[in-house]
Symmetry: C2
């Protein structure tokens, strides 16, 4: 949790933390500041509160974070630019040297964060490294300090994710009502004007209903039918028409406006009726989903459940990526992932996940054991986002029916 | 333009180009691929077509770009991970070495692009640099090769920006009708339920109307009243109520769904009536705006117009940042900026802008000469997005009335 930041910096042997970029759509900066409409840098010495450096015209937005703020203009960037004959990299380097001195960061390891255009920041970090040899600038790979802090959520974060869950399932219900309210002709869903309802039509409604509720979907929405439903990250072809009896994978993962906390949710629908093959595949996924949900326990390593799912599917005769890492049909992705300011964060459940990725109290994660058969045109995935409560109960934030068949013409 | 990429790489002395990150909300990758729902890497040797490396589960999305694609799984990342005892950085480095070899990139300068979380990519680039000493990995600062290519737009890009302009002004008209349709009480705009209409209420409508038209506003929207209208990048306090006779700066800069092409547009409104001080400030801004619009000529260096605006405002007695770079009232930002896949791109108009930032045929840029007096609670900005056409005419994509007073109770 956020309150562990100093102790985590100590454990990871970092003396300071430097974050770049905007206060929105930038998970690290959002986490450290609470978010806002500004762009700047945040520097935190271990044991000291962070300082947010911002542009003069964004000072009011930056002040809303409640953090200590400093104006970049106080470092006289225009004078520095003149001093270095218009060399903006040298001018920025000089400014950062002064900022580090002002924050008392003079030696040790500095970990860097922020979602930014790589070019300029890569150049800047190389220049800072050369200019301040007493510091070591470190980019973390794999499980970063911040991802470790974010792996468990505090009450405020839980409330924000719960609200996103309620918004998400409300939009899913609206989508079901919208689709089911149409007529059909020759197994195709038809709009009042007589033309077929397309995936593009449905997606634009989804976007609208999300916006109406103060959410956005920067990563898009998956609404994919037939063969596309069996390619886990095909988002669906906007021109495809909605036909009865085909599997539709509807995976919706919106976040708060401005790129805040996410929710992640999937249902699989067959409109009107389900052919035997789709029903059988659904029943197998449903059985695995229900089994795992009933077995979730606080403190267990997440990937133990991935192994459990592989056991279950393999016993049913499906190929899994445990048997064949390159498999393109069967059970071909991992069971779930943490959800927060990133749509994918810790704990991870894949084979390469750390043993530290446990379902600890405060963890928020998805359970999504799908099956995919592109050659048959059948994909099924069921997914809920779960909170491991402090009392050891695994709670689905926003329960919603798991039914496969969506009856038409209601 | 995009067709100039190879010649620009030659001119900038780059032998290859490497881009990271998702195909949406990532200007460099969108520009190079056309965009899509995938995450991967793009490697282009100068003179050769780019190759897009993608994950197996995103292969169909990547294929839609029409580019040559390669599966990351073909490089057997899991086997590499085993080979390097679980060290993901070493495994990635080995994969990239093979990808570079496969694309025939064995020596020279490699420019890097992409909006990504800095930590992992900084570590990877440092590791690649150590592993392939024949290559030099370069992060550009200031005016990058890609920003130079993007400074002029082709027909397809112009059509997409024009459509965003039409969407933007349609939403502005809807906003005006919505606000004006309310009753007032004691100079405050009142909702049907008797409570005051807030900026938050208006903004949630704006988000809704944008989504309805297939647009999004990842950078937010400025709808700021009173003192906030005079702080150029205050986005407005959601809890503020709408009062008559105060300046409202309404700056809206949405982009295509998925983070595509932007439009940028500002009007300043006084609801019901305008006090003399606001009207005077508006008339001065309007006069400067009209003057500059009438003087725009193809091939002129953009910052010449910034100087022209400073001349005009200083003659009226306003302070400008030319006189005092730290000024916090008067004319305190630059005249405009290019618009495309980034809300701010080239050509730039500020004092540090290059002489290469000209209003060339194909340039798309804003004109937004505001005046700001926070202590008086008055800010005025007028902004249109302009296309310098090949025939030398500066065309506003989506004309809209510039009126200050928005009559209430229509």
């Amino acid at each position: 949790m956020k309150t562990d930041l100093d102790s985590l910096m100590q454990a990871h042997n970092f003396d300071a933390l430097l974050a770049f970029g905007p206060g929105d759509h930038n998970p690290a900066m959002m986490y450290l500041t609470g978010g806002g409409h500004f762009t700047g840098e945040l520097l935190k010495k271990r044991g000291a509160p962070p300082v947010l450096f911002c542009r003069t015209m964004e000072r009011d937005e930056a002040a809303k974070t409640g953090l200590a703020t400093r104006l970049i203009d106080d470092y006289k960037p225009m004078e520095l630019l003149k001093q270095f004959n218009g060399d903006s990299l040298k001018a920025s380097t000089a400014r950062f040297q002064q900022m580090f001195a002002d924050c008392g960061v003079t030696a040790g390891r500095v970990v860097v964060y922020g979602k930014v255009e790589i070019g300029g920041t890569f150049a800047l970090l190389n220049a800072l490294q050369a200019a301040m040899p007493g510091l070591t600038f470190v980019g973390e790979t794999g499980n970063t300090l911040l991802m470790e802090a974010q792996m468990t959520k505090d009450e405020n974060e839980i409330a924000r994710i719960r609200k996103m869950g309620q918004i998400t399932t409300a939009v899913v219900a609206q989508t079901a009502d919208f689709v089911a309210g149409h007529k059909t002709r020759n197994e195709v869903v038809i709009k009042p004007d007589g033309t077929p309802l397309t995936i593009g039509d449905v997606k634009s409604r989804i976007n609208l209903w999300l916006a109406e509720r103060g959410a956005e979907n920067p990563e898009g929405t998956i609404f994919a039918i037939g063969r596309d439903s069996a390619v886990p990250h095909s988002s669906g072809n906007p021109a495809d028409v909605l036909k009865l009896g085909q599997t539709i994978v509807y995976d919706i993962f919106p976040c708060e406006q401005g790129g805040g906390y996410y929710y992640d949710f999937t249902r699989t629908w067959c409109l009107g009726y389900a052919p035997d093959a789709a029903l059988k595949q659904y029943e197998q996924v449903r059985s695995v989903f229900d089994t795992i949900m009933s077995e979730l326990k606080s403190g267990v390593v997440f990937k133990r459940y991935q192994e459990r799912v592989c056991d279950l599917y393999e016993a049913m005769g499906h190929v899994t990526t445990r048997q064949d890492p390159g498999a393109q049909e069967g059970y071909i992705h991992s069971l779930g992932h943490g959800v927060g300011l990133n749509i994918h964060e810790r704990p991870a459940s894949g084979v390469t996940a750390s043993d530290a990725d446990v379902l600890a109290p405060g963890a928020v994660f998805t359970i999504e054991p799908g099956l995919y058969y592109p050659d048959q045109g059948i994909g099924v995935r069921l997914e809920d986002t779960v909170w491991m409560r402090p009392d050891g109960v695994a709670e689905v934030f926003a329960p919603y029916p798991l039914d496969l068949v969506l009856p038409m013409g209601k």
